[in-house]
Subunit: 164 residues, 2 copies
DNA sequence: ATTAAATAATTCAATATCAAACGATTGAAA
DNA sequence: TTTCAATCGTTTGATATTGAATTATTTAAT
C-alpha cells in the first residue's frame, strides 16, 4: 500500500498544474461532446469539415497538419467522410502525388448546421470565467503551448477562431 | 472560399481561449510522450500502473473512474497489461462481480523506473511559467474543469499529484 | 423465497490513432 | 538521362476508445 507522490515543492507545483490543465481540457471537451451539437460527427471529422469550411479545399497532408494528426489517420478520416458524402477527393493534375479534399454541398450544409450550436456551447463553457480571466488563461496556455514541438487536438486545433 | 469565423467579441474571446487551452494541453502531452520516458507504455497503461502504484490495488471500475475511461476500455487495457505481466487480476471472493487488479513485482519495478523521468519532464515543461503563473493557471483550470461532468485524460488524471 | 433492479465485467462494431513500411510521383543531381 | 532523395497518400498492425448489448452476480422489494 504505497503512498501518494511526494517531491519537492517545485515538483508538486508542476504536477498539480499539469493535472489541472489536463482535467480542464478534458472536462470542457467532454461536456462539449455531451451536448450533442456535433451530432454524429467525430471530433476529427468535425475538425476536417470545419477546416475545409473556413480555409477552403486542402490536400490531405495540409489537413493532417491543421488538425494535428498523422497522415495515415487522415486517410481513414477522409475515407469515412467520403462514405457519408460530406467531402470529395480530387487528384491534383499538376502533381499527381497530391489529393485535394473538397467540401461537398452536403458537407457544407452539415458544418453550417452544426457550427452555431458548437460556438454557443463553447461560450457557455467559458462563461464561468470573467473576460479578464479568459484573457489570462489564454496567455498562460499560449506560453505553455509555445514549446518546441507543435501539437494540438482535433476540434481545438481547427481555425474556428484565429490564433492571434 | 469562405472566410474565418466572425462573431461577437464574447464569442471570439471564448473561442480563442478554448483553442489555446486545447493546444496547450495537447502540446504538453505530445512533448511528454516524445521524451520517451514512458518507454513502451501507452498513456492509459501508464495511468493504470501509476494509479495502482499510488493508491494500491483497485477493481476495474474504480480504475476506469480514476483514469476516466469507459469500463469496456479498461477491460482491454488491463488485458494488455496482463499480457506483459505487469498486473494481475483477482476475482473478489466476497462479491464475485468485482475483479481486483494488482500490480505485479514487474509492474512495480516498471512504474518505479519510469516515474522519476516523467516527473522531471513535467517540471521542465512547466518551467516556462513562473511559480505564480503556475498557480494562476491551476486556479483558472480548476474553475473551468469544475463544471458538471467529471472527465480528464490518461496520465493527467492519475494521482501523480494530489488534487488539493 | 422469488422477482426485479442495480452493478461489474465482457464483448462487439465502429472509429480513432500512431509508427513504420510501402508504392507512386516528382524534382534534382550526377 | 538515369538515379536518388523527398514527398504524398495508403496500408498494416497494434492499441485505444466509446456506446450498446450481454452475462454474471448481488441486493432490494415484494
Amino acid at each position: 500500500m504505497p503512498t501518494h507522490y511526494h517531491g519537492t515543492a517545485e515538483e508538486r507545483r508542476a504536477l498539480n498544474t499539469f493535472i489541472k490543465l489536463m482535467r480542464a481540457a478534458d472536462s470542457v471537451e467532454a461536456r462539449l461532446a455531451q451536448r450533442g451539437c456535433l451530432d454524429d460527427l467525430t471530433p476529427s471529422q468535425f475538425g476536417v469539415l470545419e477546416t475545409l469550411y473556413h480555409l477552403g479545399s486542402l490536400c490531405q497532408t495540409e489537413l493532417a497538419h491543421k488538425i494535428l494528426k498523422s497522415s495515415g489517420n487522415m486517410t481513414l478520416v477522409i475515407d469515412n467522410l467520403e462514405k457519408q458524402g460530406l467531402v470529395r477527393r480530387e487528384r491534383d493534375l499538376n502533381d499527381r502525388r497530391f489529393i485535394t479534399v473538397h467540401l461537398t454541398e452536403k458537407g457544407r450544409q452539415t458544418i453550417e448546421a452544426v457550427l452555431p450550436c458548437h460556438v454557443k456551447a463553447i461560450v457557455e463553457e467559458f462563461s464561468v470565467l470573467t473576460p479578464e480571466e479568459q484573457e489570462t488563461l489564454g496567455e498562460l496556455c499560449k506560453k505553455l503551448g509555445k514549446g518546441q514541438s507543435p501539437k494540438a487536438t482535433l476540434v481545438s486545433s481547427t481555425p474556428l477562431a484565429e490564433q492571434e
